[in-house]
Amino acid sequence: MHNILAFGVVGIIYGCLYALTACGLVVTYQTSGIFNFAHGAIGMFMAFTYWQVSAGWGVPWPLALIIVLFVLAPLLGLAIERMAIRPLYGASLGVTLAVTLGLLLFLLGAADAIWKPTITRRLPAVLPGREVTIASVHVSYYEILVLILSVAVAVVLRVLFTRTRAGITMRAVVDDRELTARSGANPIRSAQLSWALGASIAALASILIAPLQNFDQFNLTILVVIGYAAAVVGRLKFLPMTVAGAMVLGLMQSYAVGYLPSRFLSDVSPVLPMALLFAALVVLRPARLEAVRLKLGRDRPAMNLRPSLGLAAGFVFASYVVAQMLSAGSLRTFGYGIVLGIVMLSLVLLTGYGGQVALCQMTFAGFGAYAMGKVGGSSGSPLGLLAAIAFPAAAGALLALVVLRLRGIYLGLSTLAFAYAMESLFFNHQLGYGGNLFVHRFLAHSQEAFLVEVSLVFALVAVGVLAVKRGQFGRRLAAMNDSSVACVSLGMDVTGTKVAAFTIAAGIAGLGGAMYGGWQTIVGPQDFFMLQSLILLLTLAVFGINVVLGATAAALYLAVAPIIERHSGIPNLTYLTIGLGSILLGRFPDGVAGLLSSFGERVRSLAERGRRGPDAVVAGEALSTGFDLADEEEEVEVVTVGP
């Protein structure tokens, strides 16, 4: 009994930490409609700013706290809203995810650059040395303060959003921006307020949490991932349920340590937050069934078979030429980009065409590498390659069946939970002794020959993905992307389409993983961590997630940029462009490929003008303008069905 109470007390303390992070996440989502992956990073940055002001510059901690929470954090929130978020209103989920992820990386990089991570820092102690004993657990005054503030923050926020005009307006803006504006409210002002508030809450959470754990950029940023589970229990909407979810999670973790046998504890403990997240997503009924909210760009038809085969052959030939020209080191870098491109093609099909947000493609790639390594043996047998496709495909089908009812951000989070769980449950255990697995190459063995092979695989998969888009399945994917509700009402088999999309995409990712493993010859768990999938999504989004050209451009970029970077001496050129691109996504959601395509169309139009003459062109332009206006920006209204 005594231990039950003791672990209970500890669990509640854990729960308060998670509640603080989760509440901020819910606030931002409720008031902006954007799931902010950078929430933890904002808090982290502010926590380090607090350290700088208090410990670094010697400002007394109460004053430093006021400056950070009520001045600097809101200013950061305002800046983020103005520069990165405002262009995103109405953007697709994929774009918003990519932008907030880019923001996460930006803040993490900024924090690393300003405050060197190899230096140990500590925040000033608050109420040091004082404690009370509850159920034989010594609880410091500070931990009690954290508990009180967690509950207070949740209560204040609930009152704010349900009882005050400002709070209600913030929520209304998300529901219907135009209607709210007509009622006299200022949507922009409201959005600014919500992001300023969100940043302050993130700052408060991180500043309170930091003294209780490693004061570390990455650690503070990633802690919010655990808070996702609590936020989802609250359906990204209800703060009391969010706090309850956080407490449940904290208690689960504490009692797991207390009562699970050691041999199970090691496996279960790491995945508890994600297990709760997954269970909450699958078991709890979403509040409303929503049609997809889109901002459709022009739907460009897929290239026909003959030209796509021609381009594919050209791509392979070009790779062969490149393979002869590059040094060994540059060749290695070049091939790495191409193998990642194969995995990105799976995202084009699943997310670009089908609108299914999947944050676990590198996990499937890892399954592929594992299968190739284990089944392919030392000769890289064809059986290994088949297993590299089949095993991930089966996993993808199973995942799709489990998350069938989920859409949008819920679907994204469930795949994220899956990826996170696989880190601990699978990759840390299965990738060979010492955490490494040798993966032998299928067919070609020399670096040059394998580059040609990898390029051929990329080209064939690209042709295949284009063929899918042209075919009936591609039309079903597009329909599902447009409106699942409409598809269901028209009698289309959305379930089968979704499962098939996940299966095929996972198989492609697995094939990419087999190539990835063969390229490096050796793989480890860190090659397939959850964050790898997020970065892949970000990179592809910058270049164009909706088109094969985007994946091709992204692959070539990852292949070439590090080489240019090394020769030019321009540091970090690779991530420079990706970072710039992520900021511009709000303005150009189709990415680089979209820009290139639009540019190409303008060039064709000008050439046509030159060929036909001005009168014919004016008439033609009037006709095409009409079509363009019809196609250009078509906003699909959100259809809400449900209680």
Binding site: F106, A110, T120, H138, N219, S269, R332, S424, N428, G579
Partner: protein, 478 residues
Amino acid sequence: MIACAILLVATLPACGLRANKQAVRAATEAAVGRGTGGGVGAGTGGGTGAGTESGLGGTSSATGASSAGAGTSGAGAGSTSGGSGVGSAAPAGGNGGATDIGVTADSITVGNISDLGGPVPGLFAGGPNGTQSYFNYINSQGGIYGRKLKLRTADDQLQCNQNQAAYENMVGSVMGFVGSWSLYDNCGALVLGKHPDAFNVSQALTADAEKLPNTYNLAPYGEGAQSGPFVYWKGKFPSTITKVGTLVGNVPASVNAWNYQQQMMETLGYKVIYRNDFPPAQTNFTADVIQMKSKGVQFAIGTSINAPDWAIFVSEAAQQDFHPQVMTAGSAMYAAGWIEQAGGAKNTEGHWFFTTTAMFLGEDAGTVPEVALYAKWLKQAYPNFKSDLFSAASWADAALFVEALKKAGPKVTRKAVLAALGQIRAFNDNGMVPMQDVAAKQPGHCYLLLQARAGKFVKVDDPPVGFRCDGIFRPYQR
């Protein structure tokens, strides 16, 4: 928008999030911790014999033999095992000029590939820093046979393919590699394996890198653990050894390192009654403290956990009045600022540590001149860099390389350096590290026992100069 882009340009680069940062740290410190519990600095297996090192430059008795008794190790100052690193001028007939790849009449260029960027910026900055500092010292003395030493550095950004690419890029233009530190050295090993003439005088963090015939270092990787400190504690605290509790970072490198250690401890009669392989994202260990207290743990050990996490554990243990008779951790905790991070003197009083280098933070500067030399040249080259295990180890590896260069003679080639490395039977860089039979490539068995007292690390039951050389290295039995 533009301002944001500029800021992003300057800062995004560090964000190649290829690895969970906590996992990276845990794996690093497990790899380093193997130096105290396993490969690096662990004793050799087999035979019996007094585990002594002569204080005056005699050869180590550890060659191919275990050291079962308590032994001491001398500093070997000025001995044939020393790496005093005095420069040498070109001989009268010249040094032969460009005798091999990376060699000219005036210089020798070697490479260093370390984890410098990526998700943990500066993780192994000590690698090139320690190596360059030593080269600066040698160059100030005139170099070796009239050639100055140059270091070309590459950052693999904690990525396997980048590590491979870096080796591919450099292997054709540098003489060899010195002082590299990378968690992905197994990836680079695939490249080095195809160039057996290119020497690699660097600490290996993986078995694949260590087993290369062209890899030499002062702390060979071994799958097993040394028993010396645990024999000592068994003798001193016999009632505690059947009540061991530990926390292990749940990444393969840490888990494996602990498995080696646990097996070795169990052969001595230790019994682990609490173990939690915690996830990298776990940041609070109060529940573990309560559980250890509840189970009656009297010997708490943290050798497969990163230094910041162990500091949190120590802090929470103090808060919960959990004071096992023995609280011990590995060499990763012997670091500037760790005691403060753990809550200061009151939380760490009497805690034990063991390490396989001299006390490079400065405590040994008076008795081991090499420590003072290292501190001086490191500070001169990198005034804002804090000395760490990686820079100290790389300094020593650089000294080993220079020793081999001198033995290879003025008309130096890759092959001659490798041959020279294969003949070095006793080397300790003037007491910076325990005496090591470099050619044998067997894990050593010498260490220092430290305790935290009044907020400082102090030696306990160690010889006045040198290392303890008792215990054996017990290979892991699968």
